[in-house]
């Protein structure tokens, strides 16, 4: 059984925010809710890198562990989903999540939290696949149509990858190997791309220039 994962390659991400737009378009998320965001570190400085972040669909999800009403579940594809009929909007998942994935629409007189919304890996929710109800609550269910999340599908530089963790890991490994080889100008891609090549360990976001 495939386990779905995202991977964003900081060497390729150009902070175009295409994934953010794709996500909003595919899922019709309300204003103020951002299931995906692009974070740039060292913006405008040497060593600038960008990362597209959303729910990482953790195997041991902290959100699911702290939820007081137990509204989270993991699908057969390893996608962490939640039931909005059960969610009470307490915000605990937001405190626990390392990636800042859970989002809360502001409702009510004091802008209190509404029911949580987060990336579903374009996998909908507990309702019937691709029903109108599912779309209103959770957005698209592209997985049921045999498609991958729109953010990754739309990524112009193929920085953002989504799919079976084994396949993604494989692509990632090949890229790292190729980048390492490119130092000697024998690589397949990134030939002569010394400008983008960090001085430290090649292919690592942490490499300092």
């Amino acid at each position: 059984m495939a386990v779905m994962k995202f991977y964003c390659d900081p060497e390729r991400c150009i902070e175009c925010n295409g994934c953010v737009t794709a996500c909003k378009n595919a899922n019709e998320v309300p204003w103020g809710v951002n299931r995906r965001r692009v974070v740039t570190i060292k913006d405008g400085e040497p060593g600038e890198r960008s990362l597209s972040v959303a729910c990482m669909h953790c195997s041991d999800a902290p959100c699911a562990a702290v939820c007081p009403v137990n509204c989270f579940y993991t699908t057969d594809d390893g996608v962490v989903l939640h039931d909005k009929d059960i969610c009470i909007g307490c915000g605990y998942c937001f405190y626990a999540c390392p990636f800042g994935a859970p989002q809360f629409p502001k409702v009510g007189a004091f802008g209190t939290r509404g029911k949580m919304d987060k990336c579903t890996f374009c996998g909908g929710g507990p309702e019937a696949d691709n029903s109108a109800e599912e779309y209103t609550k959770y957005g698209a269910n592209r997985l049921a149509e045999g498609k991958l999340p729109l953010c990754a599908e739309m990524c112009a530089t193929k920085a953002l990858l989504a799919g079976d963790a084994d396949v993604i890991a494989d692509i990632y490994r090949k890229r790292v190997v190729n980048r390492g080889a490119s130092v000697f100008n024998t690589g397949i891609s990134y030939q002569n791309s010394t400008l983008r090549n960090p001085k430290g360990t090649p292919g690592k976001a942490s490499s300092e220039n």
Partner: protein, 368 residues
Amino acid sequence: MTRTDKRRHRMRKMLAWSGYTLLLVLLLPLLPYAIQAANDTQNNPAGYTPPTVVNPIEVPSPGAELWREVRQRDGSYVGDTQVKGVETGVLINKAGEDWRLFRMQMLVPYGAILMGAILGAILVFYFTRGTLRLAGGFSGKKILRFTLSERMVHWFTVALFWLLAVTGLILLYGRFVLIPLLGLEGFSVTASACKEAHNLFGPLFLFAMLALFITFFKDNFYARGDLKWLSKAGGLLGGHVSAGRFNAGEKIWFWLATLLGFALCITGLILDFAVVGLGREAMALSHVIHGISAVIMIAVSFGHIYLGTAGMEGSFSSMANGYVDENWAKSHHDLWYEEVKGTAIDAQEGKQGGGVPSGGVAQARRDI
């Protein structure tokens, strides 16, 4: 009926009605079950089936290495982003995991152990020692211990405290205790009602704490004899110990309750008003303080309630109608009794069908 009788009658009625209202508010979250049960039998005899949950297979994320690197960057994991909002530039929220461990592996189990242990100790004490009888029995004379305004402040705090304690405990332990009983959907409705009640009534607790503090603080400062009272455990170990209006135990409870109460109010307001835009670290820290304070306050309140009701004969009337028996005052608060013994009145006075109050004394105790 005299004027005093009428006032008493009105007050009793008022207290009864506030009791009913409190009961109603506490029972209200149960209403959905009745509706749920009725609906279940009509429309959905099979009941709600939760979504399939599978044990996730341990597959290393392709991004694990990358995120480990991000996490280890010193301070530079805060970046820039086009997305507006609280902490949207933070790549890794490091406080999250600590908070999760605190809540799931400390607050939940140790909270239950603390509250259970105190409740258990009280039960053991009750079944071995029983109600502590009033030495010398009821004298037939009574003394005003708490004025109407003091009692109102007390019961206002009690009502809010239990509303908040019950709703808070449901949110903390409901997943383990109530979901097996009510199902996910049934409990979701209750938890939602509890969350709303907790968030709406929570800020009022600040007023209760302020009123409680202003009303009682002047009699709760350290006085000579308090240490002696403590060393003899308030006479539980035998022998008589002197005490003023409040004994050392009551004073400790007062300071503990106000300290924890104000901590609960401040952290509660931080958690309640998420719109202010505080980060997750502040929220998690507030939650830790809120949880610890609440559990301790609830656990200690069991002892306070026990001593005020079943634990000690003649105590409860002081908060019910304001009066205590003269012998109760002599045996538990002898120093205070010396100050107020002139105001003692006949126990039957003021009760329904009781005698005519003697003007001078009645006036005196109203002035207390």
